[in-house]
Amino acid sequence: MSFLYLLIALIAVFGHSEDFLGTTLLSRPLILGPLVGLVLGDVTQGTIIGATLELIFIGNIKVGAAIPPDVITGGVLGTAFAIISGKGPAIALAIAIPVSILAEIVISGLFVFRPVFNKRFNQYAEEGNFKGIQRLHIFSGSLKPLLMGIIVFLALQLGATTMKSFLDLIPTWVQSGLQVAGNMLPALGFALLMNLMFNKTVAPYFFLGFMLASYLKLPVIAIGGFGLIIALLVTQKPQEKTIANEEDDFATETEELLADILAIKPRLSKKNIRSLFWRSMLLEANFNFETWQNTGFAYALIPVLRKLYLTKQAMAAALKRHLQFFNTSPYGSTLILGITAAMEEQNSRNEDLDEESINSVKLGLMGPLAGVFDSLFWGTFKVIAAGVGTSMAIKGNIIGPILFLFIFNLPHLLLRYQLTFIGYHTGTKFLQDLAKNNVMDRLTKGASILGLMVVGAMPATLMNINTPLKLGSDKSAVSLQAILDQMMPAMIPLGLTFLVYHFVRKNVKTTYLLIGLLALGFAGSIIHLFA
């Protein structure tokens, strides 16, 4: 058994290594669930549990330094205990929710601790010792996977037997109560997603998605396809007006400087630029609450700096420059890396260049670009990928998790790769063109239409809540559910989602909503209102 526990702990290590792997969503329950299932000899069950957990945590997103519950540790342990005890998804979530909240506290602690290394990083920079910086970045980054791996292993090794006998004590009525409660929890995830995307102007698309799913029973992937077509049609025509401030002339000192830089023949090779892309995968490895992604940025840039700065002093100055605070969306980080590489190249041959301008461009871009890329990837690609993936995985279909990764990462990696070169070759001109042609406005609008249609389909396809109530006396009794279904299929899930959304809008705390839904499901199951 210990060997199996070790393998499961390694899955948690793998999940937490996502910070080294480009934040590619390998850590989601939808992916780790089947892996745990594989180790324990029940891939189907692992896939179903993974999908159930994914739905509950679907509204948990990582924006900026706001750390959501640690679904990796919670999910892996929940899935493992549920499969070992043979109790199914309801037990998995009963374990995963509290564990992920506890694990988040541990991780936040680590992010507070990590700045301890900053002194050492600065010392390496002072010495021009880029190898030291690379080493320490990877070492500090490894702490999270290692620490959480050990916690998972110990929890399994010490707790599995006790947990199993404890779970065996749970009576059936509690289990069926948990089951119903578990089926209700996705309403919270959907409501959190709606809170990000729902507003009056795009509301019809939500209901379009819902109706396509509830009346026409279309699969989520088809609704995603329709959503894409509609989004393209709606945003096709370029709006006449340009951005709010009318002046066409963006040229400033920084701009002119960049134009000069780009006019010169590049010295960096394609390979150098490509290395920015590969190394950007480790951007978040050493995330901390003091300087955030600074060492990740420096790590990505080091091969370029090595090519450009041949003396120790020059290298030291460049390293110090890039150990300053940095934080952006990993998905768009390569654009800033590319632009920075172009500016560093210019700096390396022009003594007069104001080095501060490199950082001011970097810092000026990181916030706005995080806004753009976070909404695009978390609000659209992740939503569609999870919608399609979970709708298949919840039936035990292993294609679900694979499609999930594919739908998210195909656009992610293609764009991330291209942006490196766009940033290096065109600098901020690319961004100006985007701003002038109002591309961003159209893109975000299209993305929200597409995302919201898929969110609308979710209550209808991914929430299984019915009522067993019957109207009338024994013989002529009519099922209430049948009547509801004739009016509008999936009426209860939709109503529940809107109820939770209403409370989310009122700023009721997520934890209270979670407990409220659990209680409602539990009570509803006992009095036979819901099943």
């Binding site: 936040s108 709010a244 400033t252 000026g364 961003m440 975000t444 809008r505 700023n507 705390k509």
Partner: protein
Amino acid sequence: MIKLTRIDDRLVHGQVAFTWTPSLGIDCILVANDKVVKDEFQKMTLNLAKPSGIKLLIKSVADAAVFLNDERSKALKILVLINNVKDAGTLVALVPEITSINLGGLRSKDGSKLISKAFAVNGDDIEIIRNLLEKGIELEVRQVPTDNKKFVKELI
């Protein structure tokens, strides 16, 4: 109407565009900053980041106060963004409507210490903060709307 006044040194970024704006039903983001108003490059990047369908205004702190005090701005649901504690002090003195300030993010600088995960203040900042607290201004730390409010009173 001012829905939120936020100190955030990254101004418009993911947390603002993607969580605060929809959650408060914002229709106008006002960046009040004397430097940004003169920097076309930063204006361009901020315009890129603005959520779709939202009006973005970039004004100097003084002009921002005039705008906020104007009756015509009352019809808008405004999110005011400033990037330092000093401007918060100035704005509060000029705009009586501001009774609460959200401390979103302020990176570490020389001589500063973190009072929460993402908010670092130095001695000057603390002085202004004390001043604001004396005036009865609510100062709460939250990165995103779903965070629990932490009150600065208990943190410094």
